[in-house]
């Protein structure tokens, strides 16, 4: 029977799903822990305050309570600083401040939700009851709900060591003196703050295991959590086994290190018993990192034909109260990606960051690329409007042509490969762009609901190194084990990595086991974020499997008494060229490798565990098209068509890639229309639950029409570029461009997101009022 050996590119159903659709999967809250104690945290209700007194005797005496701890108990025992921030490498940061405040308050709170007192009890309900009985006396201080307030003259210092609250300056000077250009357009933008909101709130559990601790946490990066926690607690890394079990989504916000990941193992060591903490949704909204959240001013200079010659970007970035991971990468990524998929000769960008009394503001699905893409795509529409050009035409005039790759941008990046205009053409064809424009003209002339058409082209940056692990071993029974350093939380790596190893080794993917997210099972790893898993972690599996195949060739040569260069490989079997009848497969080779007859140097035969170190990043791209209709009476926008063309290079599993696009579109569309995480001027949190924060429901989102082009990357041998964030990046500007296009008869050139019905209605009605006024003047 012929074995199907080509499996990369097949729409294989996920092997993860049977346990998930039957409720057998174990998330951190589900891990059975007999005799576990439960942690509840007393958190600050104030954005900024001194803690002047804590009265916990009543709480300590309540039923089931086993202990009450404050910063005074915990902080002096810690051996390394929390947070773990350090300066990002390679960035032009100046004056970067990385103040630390510990995983629990030390007499000062700096955001709503800062932990102040840890209460441990025998049941979650007893812990919550006792936490409610703790009395904390706060002395209020002025707070700052956004970075402009924090940077204002006379603003209260959030850290004594950081007067003026300035967290950093970042500067990317122009690559050369910009050429003169006659058309200059500038626009101020406010990109709102968003809550990533994985469905699973953050949860941490730990258990003593002999002289070790097992730490389960809902994370995107078990290995990094282990390293940091070991340092902070002052225990050897080998004494901590960190496991990311089933993880219910992350979107970047679970790639950080959080206070509870330190407090739970600290308490486990203290009690010698298992301890668990599960965030409520409100705790999760208050304390898990938020994203986006940028003030920006973009100026472009162009010639009269619409060719953009120069881009200049100034940003103010809100860091929140602390860095939950190594430093601010979002503003620098926004700056370096500001030229988008366009051939813009010169560019400059700068940012200043400020601490505020709000949740940390960190990478959220796309980090920097959604911001940059939104800014340049909005600006191209504004420029097209000023010049009387069609939005598609202005893009055609500026897109980097296919023959220019690898392309060096004005901001110093090297784009690997691309066929940008082909993606745009496909989107226009699939969406019948010409037909939509005809319909729009008909409605504008003859009445009907306002129709808007939005186009957005994007390029993004993925596949960040410096390395990822993906060891491959052929076991004595001929089955295969992959040990990956990636940390999936819905992406389906168990299925996809089995496809890669299966194809490389010519074995049925069902014979491939994939281990991940466990520091005992997988010796090394970085994790899953920044769409790096396929181009770095997948490439590691690909190259290690290739090495194992070469090892097998040498073994086969010995077994078949032939020269290694004469050994051929097909469909999972090795044979001497020309005599296919005498072939050996993995089972025979594995048995031979383990036997005494195998060559002397075969001690670690049929296994390879070399990390893949990408030489550079990858640059997926695409084009999105959105048609939107406005309900004139209410201002409500309704998406009629949504076409997403995404090129992520070689696709490992189209089912999974499409799933990533679907989810990305939902989040990008939602940024355009619905979501807004709000603090008041002092930093009081206004959207602390799903009652206030608009996560879209099924009936708020359209059906998506997906198309794909395939332009492999030369950066890794797999040819994959990454797909986790792409659709989030393209969709926000496509939707906003469509809504603003619908509002063009009202003279609207730009509206800041989210485009709520109220905002749209006001734009339609208040601009009419202005029009009437100016007529009467």
């Amino acid at each position: 029977m012929a074995i199907r050996t080509q499996t990369i590119g097949d729409p294989v159903r996920r092997r993860e799903d049977p346990r998930l659709v039957t409720g057998q999967a174990l998330y951190t809250a589900d891990i059975p822990l007999s005799g576990a104690l439960h942690l509840a945290l007393v958190r600050s209700p104030y954005p900024h305050a001194d803690v002047v007194g804590i009265e916990a005797d009543d709480a300590a005496a309540m039923p089931g309570v086993r202990g009450v701890f404050t910063g005074a108990d915990i902080l002096p025992t810690l051996k390394a600083p929390f947070p773990v921030a350090s300066s990002p490498s390679g960035g032009a940061f100046e004056g970067l401040q990385l103040p630390g405040s510990g995983p629990i308050a030390d007499r000062r709170v700096r955001m709503v939700g800062d932990p102040v007192v840890a209460v441990v009890a025998e049941t979650p309900q007893q812990a919550a009851d006792a936490a409610a009985a703790v009395w904390v006396d706060y002395r209020d201080r002025p707070g700052a709900g956004d970075c402009r307030a924090a940077l204002a003259d006379g603003a209260e210092a959030i850290y004594d060591a950081v007067p003026g609250n300035r967290a950093f300056r970042w500067d990317l000077p122009a690559n050369r003196e910009p050429d003169p250009a006659p058309v200059v357009v500038a626009q101020d933008f406010r990109i709102q703050r968003l809550i990533p909101m994985a469905m699973e709130p953050r949860t941490v559990a730990a258990r003593p295991d002999g002289d070790r601790i097992t730490l389960w946490t809902s994370t995107q990066s078990a290995h990094r959590v282990r390293s940091s926690v070991a340092k902070i607690l002052g225990v050897a890394r080998e004494r901590i086994r960190c496991v990311a079990p089933e993880v219910g989504g992350g979107f970047g916000a679970k790639a950080n290190l959080y206070p509870e990941e330190v407090l739970v193992p600290w308490l486990t060591l203290r009690f010698g018993a298992p301890v668990r903490w599960a965030a409520t949704r409100t705790e999760d909204f208050q304390t898990t990192s938020h994203g986006r959240n940028l003030f920006a001013r973009l100026e472009v200079r162009a010639d009269e034909s619409g060719r953009v010659r120069h881009a200049d970007l100034a940003m103010q970035f809100d860091c929140g109260a602390w860095f939950s991971r190594p430093g601010p990468t979002t503003p620098s990524l926004t700056g370096t990606m500001i030229v988008g998929p366009y051939d813009i000769a010169t560019a400059a960008a700068r940012a200043e960051g400020a601490f505020t009394t709000t949740a940390p503001n960190e990478p959220y699905r796309g980090s920097g690329r959604p911001e940059a893409t939104y800014l340049i795509e909005r600006m191209l529409d504004i420029l097209a409007g000023r010049l009387g050009l069609d939005p598609v035409e202005i893009r055609r005039r500026n897109l980097i042509p296919g023959h220019r790759f690898p392309y060096r941008t004005a901001t110093g990046l090297t784009y690997d490969s691309g066929e940008y205009e082909r993606a745009l053409d496909l989107a226009l064809e699939a969406g019948d762009y010409a037909g939509l424009r005809v319909e729009q003209a008909r409605r504008r002339a003859g009445g009907g609901k306002p129709l808007g058409i939005g186009v957005a082209c994007y390029v993004e940056i993925c596949g960040f190194g410096p390395w990822e692990a993906g060891g491959v071993t052929v076991e004595p029974d001929g089955s295969v084990t992959v040990r990956s350093g990636t940390s999936p939380h819905g992406q389906g790596h168990e299925t996809a990595w089995a496809q890669i190893a299966g194809e490389q080794l010519g074995v049925d993917p069902a014979r491939v086991s994939v281990l991940h997210g466990d520091t005992d099972e997988c010796p090394r790893g970085i994790g899953t974020f920044g769409s790096r898993s396929a181009p770095v972690g997948g490439a590691a599996v690909f190259t290690n499997a290739e090495t194992v195949r070469e090892q097998a060739k040498r073994l086969a040569a010995s077994l078949l008494e032939a020269a290694p260069e004469d050994i051929r490989f097909a469909e999972g079997r090795f044979f001497v060229a020309g005599s296919r009848a005498r072939a050996v497969g993995w089972t025979e080779l594995a048995a031979y490798a383990a036997s005494e007859e195998s060559p002397d140097d075969a001690g670690d035969a049929l296994t390879s565990d070399t990390d893949f170190r990408p030489p550079s990043e990858t640059f997926p791209f695409g084009a999105h098209l959105c048609a939107v209709e406005i309900e004139p009476e209410t201002g409500e926008p309704r998406i009629l068509r949504y076409i997403s063309v995404d090129d992520c290079g070689r696709v490992i599993n189209p089912l999974l890639a499409e799933g990533q696009v679907h989810g990305g579109l939902a989040q990008g569309i939602s940024q355009a229309l619905f979501e807004n995480a709000a603090y008041d001027a002092d930093g009081t949190f206004l959207t602390g639950s799903l009652l206030e924060y608009a996560i879209p429901r099924a009936d708020m989102l359209p059906a998506y029409e997906l198309r794909r082009t395939v332009t492999p990357t030369p950066i890794n041998p797999l040819g994959a570029k990454g797909i986790g964030e792409a659709a989030t990046i393209g969709s926000t500007p496509a939707v906003v461009n469509a809504v603003v296009d619908a509002l063009r008869p009202w003279g609207v050139e730009h509206l800041d997101t989210p485009l709520t019905p109220e905002k749209i209605w006001r734009a339609m009605n208040e601009s009419q009022a202005q029009g009437e006024e100016s007529e009467s003047d």
Partner: protein, 156 residues
């Protein structure tokens, strides 16, 4: 002052003593070890904890355990039959109707009720029927596709 609650869970009679304030989701998860119903919010918005109570999809975080006295509860663990996956579970698998899987038990059990009411539910009707269940991974596209496909299979 504990209360006695007698109920049937996944076909099995259970007799438990509970605090009056205990929520049904905590009874299922913490007392009966059925962790398939997930807790994703504290305001009854997300639907991850949905179970079937006497055939109706309910959010188990919105009910007290004592309210389930005398009721027949089905959780995701009890949905598959002797012959394997329930058609809706199968459809979610076949159509990539889940990613992280956290909302999935609630989605599937809500889908049972949607298709009980109308096996031929359209895309729009399914979307409307899912208004009490949030998903953050799939953009709902393949969830809707899965439910419509399961309905078509049941009514075929």
């Amino acid at each position: 002052m504990n209360h006695r609650v007698c109920l049937k869970v996944n076909g099995e009679a259970r007799d438990v003593e509970v605090e009056p304030r205990l929520l049904l989701c905590h009874l299922l998860r913490d007392e009966l070890g059925l962790t398939g119903a997930n807790i994703g919010c504290d305001t009854s918005q997300c639907g991850s904890c949905t179970v079937l109570m006497d055939g109706k999809a309910v959010k188990s975080c919105t009910l007290l355990a004592v309210q389930a006295d005398g009721c027949d509860v089905t959780t995701i663990e009890g949905l598959a039959g002797e012959n394997g996956l329930h058609p809706i579970q199968q459809a979610f698998w076949d159509n990539h109707g889940l990613q992280c899987g956290f909302c999935t038990p609630g989605m599937i059990l809500t889908a049972v009720e949607i298709l009980d009411r109308n096996p031929c539910a359209s895309d729009a009707e399914v979307r409307h029927g899912l208004e009490g269940n949030l998903c953050r991974c799939t953009g709902y596209e393949n969830i809707v596709k899965s439910i419509v496909a399961a309905g078509a299979r049941e009514s075929a």
